[in-house]
Symmetry: C2
Subunit: 312 residues, 2 copies
Amino acid sequence: MTTIVAVDIGGTHMRAASYSQDDITPIKHKRIRTLASEPGGFERLTGVIEDVWPQGEAVSAIGIGSPGPLDPHTGHLLAPPNNPQWHNFPLAPKISEHFGVKSFLDNDANLAGLAEYRFGAGKGHHHVLYVTVSTGIGSGVIIDDRLLQGYHGLAAEMGHIIVDPNGPPCSCGFNGHLEAYSSGPAIVKYVFGELEAGRKSSMKRDMDLSAREIAEAAHQGDMLAIQAYQRAGEYLGIGVASMLHMFDPSVVIFGGGVSQVGKLLFDSFDSSLKKHVFHPRYLDGLVIAKAQLGDDAGLLGARALAEMKLGL
Amino acid sequence: MTTIVAVDIGGTHMRAASYSQDDITPIKHKRIRTLASEPGGFERLTGVIEDVWPQGEAVSAIGIGSPGPLDPHTGHLLAPPNNPQWHNFPLAPKISEHFGVKSFLDNDANLAGLAEYRFGAGKGHHHVLYVTVSTGIGSGVIIDDRLLQGYHGLAAEMGHIIVDPNGPPCSCGFNGHLEAYSSGPAIVKYVFGELEAGRKSSMKRDMDLSAREIAEAAHQGDMLAIQAYQRAGEYLGIGVASMLHMFDPSVVIFGGGVSQVGKLLFDSFDSSLKKHVFHPRYLDGLVIAKAQLGDDAGLLGARALAEMKLGL
């Protein structure tokens, strides 16, 4: 029986789990704090892997998910946010050397997409677009049952497609990216901009607003809050329309915190998508689904990556 | 030895050729007029295929390229422009039945991309973005050595990605598509718009201007003509930047008539691409190339499609 160890390195927590093939429930599972700004990150990582190492079973591979940018072909982290110790860090090769087992790395959005395709809302589909709408916007794409990674391993950065070259600045510094319209911080920024411009609202300029609080204001009927989400949904529909034209998937799966707000975002998304898809055939049988795996997507994706690389 | 018959159905000409595997020079080749508006199209097609049928050789498959929209999975034409007789026409199945040989169909841009990947400017690359800039803008994408087709077979419609939702109308009727900025007719339309607005130029409102004539005016120093191409190149750079973020190819290949103008389009394309790519790593080792196969791309792509489907 094949056994895989999976690791999900998040901003606040590192999780590890060991899995038997064809069983979605881990043999062992452990979660610790990432403490990215403190030294000893590699030791914490090897420690949590040791904690879930199955007794009496040979581990076939270790799959690792991390925020990007990273190079899945070499297994090197390039410049993970909030973790300067791991800039240009050969993570997969070092884990491989430490445990004497093949190790594979890819970014969290790609792996969440792979997990949903293998175990979640994309099961049975061969062409999958997974979109996470959260602090940023990321994506994972499956084409003909294969994960899209690209030449440098930097494919599927849907948050950074240009939806309006004269649009507002993105977190990455460039203008008019989808993330600059439809991510949580973009929604907050839009609300503050409108408040600055004197727009009436139950929300105030001196509040410490989050996308979640704006969603609550919207549910209370605040027009600015409602419109902020409508605008985000509209641009999300524009971005997804372009992605349909390029990838022509059979399912689009939404994950991430901002996508939890439901109709507030997705009513305008739906009408925008219909409005912007240039041929109705793209929508024939197209499934729009919510991610099913929640917090487990990272671990299950890291596991699926290892299985994929082993040819399983 | 495997022998393939390839057919390229164009707006004005139909071409057919027979090929031995691993020989890029056809055994036989024939070109006739398409005469799309006249009846008898299917008979003309079977006739030109018969004309190139190799004597004494078993044909393994027939590959067919045609303008879209079409369904490469079923081999049906959906609504080819200028050819109402072939709307919802089961072209590949009928050719297959007629000749007793497997037949495969895909659109001209996908097949030109596949041809450049196999035999032209993309040889040796595994991740290819082919872009044709002409009356329309089409593309063909190779990911990990496989042609991107999509669930409905409608993938890689790069002319119809949205680069500005408030932009001018595209030939397809929707607004702000790349094709509405950077195709030949878009360049012409922009020039006429500026002339209508009273802009000074050697070109006049009552002229029957084409993209080629605007290029000539630009070479004579006409500022409006120069700027029209610059604008087209700038948006082309924006569109290609988004495609790098999604596909992360190692080569971008340009074909089509408008792309023949060289620096007039590509100086502004290059600076726009550099300006809009959000991480410099996408450009590491990225090759920007001209298509090498010219008019043979369609035939060689149809041949490559058949070989691909046969697993060769």
